[in-house]
């Protein structure tokens, strides 16, 4: 990446995965490649169902039983997690890699007090007594802005956002090296979200842990992540420094994602991307976005574009599009709904 001085913590190489559905493989991740530096926070965005949670679960080692990784490596400090024994993986879960699942609202055990669940998680991995663990839990509740008196509540007594914050607290409990956060703030108002990110920033500076932040909220990525990864239908279609990607997208899908957000600082009306993502139980040889893409040509339909550098001047910017070089001339047209309607699915 741009400044290769930094130590690489996590590296995903050529990852392919699918779900078995009625005996048929349905592709979920294809040719996923990226790496995360120590202390870095990366935003992962993409359409609902594109494989973001699948990717996090693969890294965490908690994929559904009908999921299968067919190729690739997930390296944490050089060691391939996919080659590790179940016991080694169990050890590293929560200790090295922690996850805030998208189902956080439903993730706590309903019959135990929330504080007890956190204390137990700490004690099962660390040699501390109950009092020390409780002190840690109290700190964590303060960090995420839930009054510590409420450690003795049961999950049903918490609001949605409080449960989500309890799960954030739990993920941070053992000071992991990397936190996989799957839509961690869907139930939080902007002020609480702001406060949590402010504290996470401090904590990240102190402890240099890394984070992958999955969110549908591009604005949150713009404000809090130095780098962005854009996925479409199981593949990374664009990646690079967040501000540059958002200012100057090179993939038509990224342009669509960006221009679908109302932006009072411009004269443009928000667009919507017509059509639906492809059926991944079918083999697709071309670009997975081609049916919805206004730039698509016959080459796009036949040949999968590789993820390659989209700017000679900046190797960190990569795009998976045959026509990325046309984007500088055609970017403005992506603000125009009628341009999107010229794509194959709609015309």
């Amino acid at each position: 990446m741009a400044n290769n001085q930094k130590e690489i913590l996590l590296e995903i190489k050529n990852l392919d995965a699918h779900y078995n559905v009625d005996g048929q493989p349905v592709s979920a991740l294809q040719d996923v490649n990226f790496s995360i530096q120590k202390g870095e926070r990366v935003g992962l965005v993409g359409e609902s169902g594109c494989g973001k949670s699948t990717l996090l679960k693969a890294i965490m080692g908690v994929l559904a039983p009908n999921a299968q990784i067919t190729r690739g490596a997930i390296k944490l400090h050089e060691g391939d997690l996919l080659q590790a024994s179940p016991e080694q993986r169990r050890q590293s879960r929560w200790n090295d890699i922690a996850m805030i699942t998208q189902s956080a609202l439903n993730a706590l055990n309903p019959v135990h007090k929330i504080g007890d669940q956190i204390i137990e998680a700490i004690q099962s991995h660390r040699d501390v007594d109950r009092q020390q663990a409780r002190t840690r839990a109290t700190e964590l509740f303060e960090l995420v802005g839930v009054p510590p008196q409420r450690l003795d509540d049961f999950p049903h007594q918490f609001s949605g956002g409080m449960r989500q914050r309890a799960v954030i607290a739990m993920a941070l409990a053992l000071s992991p090296e990397i936190v996989l956060a799957d839509e961690p703030t869907t139930a939080l108002d902007v002020i609480v979200q702001d406060q949590i990110f402010e504290r996470l920033d401090l904590l990240q500076k102190e402890q240099a842990f890394s984070m992958i932040l999955v969110t549908h909220d591009l604005a949150l990525v713009v404000e809090s992540c130095s780098r962005i990864i854009v996925m479409y239908a199981g593949m990374i279609v664009e990646t690079g420094p967040t501000h540059e990607v958002v200012r100057r997208p090179f993939h038509p899908y990224t342009a669509g994602l960006r221009y679908a957000i109302p932006d009072p600082s411009t004269k443009y009306e928000p667009i919507s991307i017509p059509g639906a993502p492809p059926d991944l139980s079918q083999q697709i040889n071309g670009c997975r976005f081609a049916p919805r893409c206004p730039l698509a040509t016959s080459k796009c339909e036949l040949e999968m574009p590789p993820l390659v550098s989209s700017l000679a001047s900046d190797a960190a910017r990569q795009t998976r599009c045959h026509h990325a070089d046309q984007m500088d001339q055609s970017r403005d047209r992506f603000h125009d709904q009628s341009f999107w309607q010229t794509a194959k699915t709609t015309s």
């Binding site: 139930a187 939080l188 902007v190 702001d194």
Partner: protein
């Protein structure tokens, strides 16, 4: 009036359990909803916005009859909701539907998507044939942007992503064509493109079928596109309410102002103001005296700590702040 809520309250008592029998702990009283009044006409969308834990979901559960209020009045089409449910539960559920906040906890894992979406129809015993049921499910799923719907009918919830589950929850609420929908963060996990399609759909349904919608959200960017009216909650009370436009143009309560100022902007070249409220989020079991917002309020004066502000209004625009509408308080900025 489709819905008329007067001074509604819901208090929970915590720590009342076993240990308390021996006087070992003090029961805490959580004032989750603490005197809320709202009105909704058919064909209207009311947005309900507020801090995490301020009582939105509790209020929602009461509005759809899942919980009883501790006090206050609650009328649906002029009738008391509790009475309505007692006399004809089935009919009440046909008219009032809810989309729950948690799409993971609210879909039965043993049922296929088709079963989940057709279940309300079956419960209503409308005498529909199998084929008709399926068609209604497909229509509802299409409306909720689960396209192509056929691809999902035989799937189970665990085979769906978070955003796909949310769309199933919306389809399930739409399938009965209710008169009132209470939707608790219905699109919080959807990307913008799908989000706007659903927002447009809900807005259209509200106008075409003349139904009422209560839209609970943390996503202020979606509010102007869908809501006619807005109510801002803070610690169990509505602290500001009125027409959506008025509030967006001239928010008068300092909490609302802070909320509006804090929304992240997708444009990296536009810097947003930071809210200048800080401090710990208060506990609903220990509500501050006077104005409940005063410990965090940038404009607080001595009287705010002691006197609960009365409601002030200008036309339909109302706010509970001693200084509401008084001076044009400048948009608050964090120092």
């Amino acid at each position: 009036m489709l819905l008329d809520v007067q001074d509604l309250a819901k208090h929970y008592v915590l720590g009342e359990g076993f240990s308390n029998l021996f006087g070992l702990s003090n029961p805490q009283k959580i004032r989750a909803v603490d005197g809320v009044s709202l009105r909704l006409q058919p064909g209207e969308v009311l947005g309900l916005v507020g801090e995490s834990g301020c009582g939105k979901s509790t209020l929602a559960r009461i509005l759809v009859g899942l919980e009883l209020p501790s006090s206050g009045a609650l009328l649906f089409n002029g009738n008391d909701i509790a009475e309505d449910i007692k006399s004809n539960r089935k009919q009440f559920h046909q008219k009032v539907q809810m989309v729950f906040q948690d799409p993971y906890g609210s879909l039965n894992p043993q049922h296929t998507i088709e079963e989940i979406v057709t279940r309300p129809l079956i419960y209503q015993q409308l005498g529909l044939s199998k084929a008709e049921l399926k068609d209604r499910a497909i229509d509802a799923l299409n409306d909720a942007e689960m396209m192509p719907a056929k691809r999902y009918l035989n799937k189970f919830p665990h085979e769906l992503s978070g955003g796909q589950r949310q769309r199933v929850c919306i389809a399930r609420a739409l399938v009965l064509q209710p008169e009132l929908i209470v939707a608790d963060e219905p699109i919080s996990m959807l990307d913008v493109s799908i989000k706007w399609s659903i927002v447009r759909l809900l807005k259209r349904l509200v106008k075409e079928r003349n139904i009422g919608l209560i839209y609970i959200t943390h996503d202020l960017s979606s509010v102007p596109a869908i809501c006619d009216k807005l109510a801002i909650m803070y610690l169990g009370r509505v602290v500001e309410s009125g027409l959506c436009d008025d509030i967006f143009k001239q928010a008068t309560h300092p909490y609302t102002q802070a909320l509006l100022a804090a929304s992240p902007n997708p444009n990296p070249d536009v810097k947003r103001g930071r809210p200048n409220i800080s401090g710990a989020i208060p506990n609903a079991s220990n509500i501050p005296t006077g104005c409940r917002f005063h410990p965090r309020c940038p404009n607080a004066q001595p009287q705010c700590a002691t006197e609960q502000p009365a409601e002030r209004h200008r036309g339909y625009h109302r706010a509970e702040c001693h200084f509401a509408f008084d001076v044009k308080i400048e948009r608050t900025k964090r120092a």
